[in-house]
């Protein structure tokens, strides 16, 4: 019994430590906090995908959300409007190809009109 409990504690602590950092998310992108949500930013070529999940990493349906991603590409800010797609994904297309991991921010407007934003460095 004691061993089980210890394993549980260790596991939980490990989990909290792991997802506290802006590291790889479930879709291979970078994760940041945005208000009550976690957003994962995946940029590939010109496409920008943002995955929304709640504080416990549970996917939140993207329907009803609106979003804007502002990413700095080559010293110039690029504004990418995001539209809800399937599941918890919002997607948008930039005018030019984005770099490997552009710095910037994602702003989400929820169905209730509340705004949340996450910063990616």
């Amino acid at each position: 019994m004691m061993l089980q409990r210890l394993t549980l504690v260790a596991g939980l602590l490990g989990a909290t430590a792991a997802y506290a950092h802006e590291t790889a998310g479930a879709h291979g992108g970078r994760v940041a906090d945005a208000g009550d949500f976690h957003v994962e930013l995946v940029t590939k070529g010109e496409s920008v995908d943002v995955y929304v999940s709640d504080g416990r990493q549970k996917p939140v349906p993207a329907a009803g959300f609106k979003g804007t991603a502002i990413l700095v590409v080559g010293g110039k800010p690029a504004r990418v409007p995001l539209e809800p797609a399937d599941g918890n994904r919002l997607t948008g297309k930039a005018a030019a190809a984005l770099g490997a991991s552009p710095k910037g921010a994602v702003q989400l407007t929820g169905p209730d009109g509340a705004t949340a934003s996450g910063k990616f460095n």
Binding site: L12, A20, Q107
Partner: protein
């Protein structure tokens, strides 16, 4: 066992939840509510930091005011383009007269948390900043729902406060309640000994306690009316009024951005380094011996202006070789008679020789006089003419006093018609850009490097070591330095404090002297710029380093933003 396991699970979950908080906090912002406004008298505001910028957003009266400053120096960033994402798409904030940026934002009047994204473009730097602003609900009397834990604590303290108040007021209800509780206790004790009919009596006791207890303590839930509040806790200020700089209860100083601009607060990032220890020497400004000079008359004589007609005034720029004055040596009376006599003799000889030359010229054509005789006579006449002319000239040939170097006239004693003694100084020329400092050192400096001079007004000059004398002067030896860079505003003879580096090295954080403030209790503090509008005093131990800087040996670490300009003003905020 299963209940125990559930309990253990709960404990672990609680622990995990507690640990998540701080772990996430370093991400930039946490999931909790935005940090509460620093005081009720200050409008709600949000701030964002990046490597380059510090942005403060203040929603007020349907307008979002933004202040953009450099992160490291706290210098306002003018001429930047700030684009804010609004429900109606991106909008650009316009610069205002007080150095901020304003944006009409009626959508921000809705109470609640707003997270803004601002794209800042200032010259080469582009940054995307996220700012969270919490607009309080104006209808709510309280500025916000306190957290549950706080509520419980508040209730307890309120209850305690109520009881204390009642005790002091000798409230009859409280007294009655205590009395009844005491009676009940006696009753229960008696019953416990008796054991008979215990349930009925116990029920009765509980009933009485409940009725009386609620009667006594019902007041605990009630609002006690606003307790007497300090002046710092007055209600929210009328909207539209500006915020005031103030010292917060935790000792930090809140200075709103517009006030920071007025006080010209500047910061610097502390960096660890090793520096040479320096010694302080008394010194004074002397002119560079190679770039200054005196104008003296070699002969005694009467001073008269140069050909330009006026003597150069003090501060006049002169070039090497410029005539500054003329000296006419006087002719003594005995010399005058001597000259008259000589003139007469010369005139007489000239007349005789001239007649002879005329005669020889006529005879030379006939061959009666040798040609050589005529030539000799002509030469003699020329010589006599020259001597006569020289005698005339010597009376009107004054000596010109010329500037020996380029510079400005530092001292001038010339007055027209004045008799100058031979060797007397008439002008002193100094090049104001080439000045030296002569300091007295009690121990021999080794080619003193990194020397600086501090003036009485706090200015500091960079010095280059020139040389050390060996002759003792007042138990010290003179050390000479050349002033480097701008030497304007200095005067010859001015006293300065020279700080010369020695070989001993010290490590620490070098900060400008103006960053360190001595507080009322005699402690040296520096102000750390902790958040955009908050400054915290940090007691430090400082050691002298050089004219402009001190070395912070302890009290603050590297990588902190420390106020270097306006720290005294910050210290005055109450």
């Amino acid at each position: 066992m299963s209940t125990r396991f559930v309990a253990a699970l709960r404990a672990v979950a609680l622990l995990a939840a507690v640990l998540v908080g701080p772990a996430l906090a370093h991400e930039g912002h946490d999931h909790g509510a935005a940090s509460p406004s620093v005081s009720k008298t200050i409008a709600p505001r949000g701030e964002a930091l990046s490597d380059a910028f510090e942005l403060v957003a203040i929603p007020r009266d349907g307008t979002l005011t933004l202040f953009l400053d450099s992160f490291r120096t706290n210098e306002p960033v003018p001429g930047a383009t700030i684009e804010v994402e609004t429900p109606d798409g991106p909008k650009v904030a316009t610069a205002t007269t007080d150095g901020g940026y304003a944006l009409p934002a009626p959508w921000l009047s809705r109470p609640g948390r707003h997270e803004l994204v601002a794209t800042v473009t200032a010259g080469e730097d582009v940054d995307v900043l996220t700012v969270a602003v919490t607009v309080p609900d104006p209808r709510a009397a309280a500025p916000g729902e306190p957290a549950p834990a706080q509520t419980v604590l508040g209730r307890v303290s309120e209850l305690a406060h109520g009881i204390r108040e009642r005790l002091t007021a000798k409230d009859p209800t409280l007294v009655a309640a205590v009395a009844v509780a005491f009676l009940l206790g006696v009753l229960v004790a008696a019953l416990a000994r008796g054991r008979r009919g215990a349930p009925a009596v116990a029920l009765l006791a509980i009933g009485i306690t409940l009725v009386l207890g609620t009667a006594a303590f019902a007041h605990g839930d009630e609002d006690h009316g606003a307790p007497v509040q300090g002046a710092a806790l007055i209600g929210p200020r009328a909207s539209g009024s500006s915020d005031l700089a103030q010292r917060l209860p935790d000792g930090s100083v809140f200075v709103p951005k517009p006030t920071q601009r007025l006080l010209v607060l500047r910061t610097t990032m502390t960096e660890q380094g090793s520096f040479r220890r320096s010694v302080e020497l008394p010194g004074r400004i002397i002119p560079d011996p190679n770039a200054s000079g005196v104008v003296q008359s070699s002969v005694g004589g009467r001073l008269s202006p140069p050909p330009s007609g006026v003597f150069p005034r003090l501060g006049t720029k002169v070039r090497k070789g410029d005539g500054l004055a003329t000296v006419t040596p006087p002719v003594q009376a005995v010399d005058v008679s001597d000259m008259r006599q000589r003139q007469g003799e010369l005139d007489q000889q000239i007349a005789i020789v001239a007649r002879r030359v005329e005669r020889f010229r006529k005879l030379a054509t006939t061959g009666a006089v040798a040609r050589t005789q005529l030539d000799d006579a002509v030469a003699e006449l020329d010589g006599l003419h020259d001597r006569r002319a020289a005698l005339d000239k010597i009376r009107q040939q004054p000596e010109t006093l010329a500037a020996p170097v380029d510079g400005v006239v530092a001292q001038a004693t010339a007055v027209a018609g004045q008799m100058a003694a031979p060797g007397a100084m008439v002008f002193q020329i100094v090049d104001p850009n080439r000045l030296w400092v002569e300091a007295l050192s009690f121990d021999a400096l080794t080619a003193a490097q990194d020397a600086t001079a501090r003036l009485a007004d706090g200015r500091s000059l960079k010095l280059a070591y020139q040389g050390t004398g060996l002759a003792d002067r007042n138990q010290a030896i003179p050390v000479q330095f050349a002033v480097q860079g701008d030497a304007s505003g200095l005067r010859v003879g001015q006293f300065v404090t020279v700080l010369a580096g020695t070989d001993t090295e010290q490590s620490g954080l070098a900060l400008p002297r103006s960053a360190v403030v001595r507080t009322g209790n005699g402690q040296d503090v520096v102000y750390e710029h902790t958040t955009a509008e908050r400054f915290e005093a940090r007691p430090v131990r400082v050691e002298p380093l050089d004219g402009g800087r001190v070395l912070v040996a302890e009290g603050i670490g590297p990588g902190k933003r420390v106020v270097t300009q306006g720290a005294e003003l910050l210290d005055q905020v109450r």
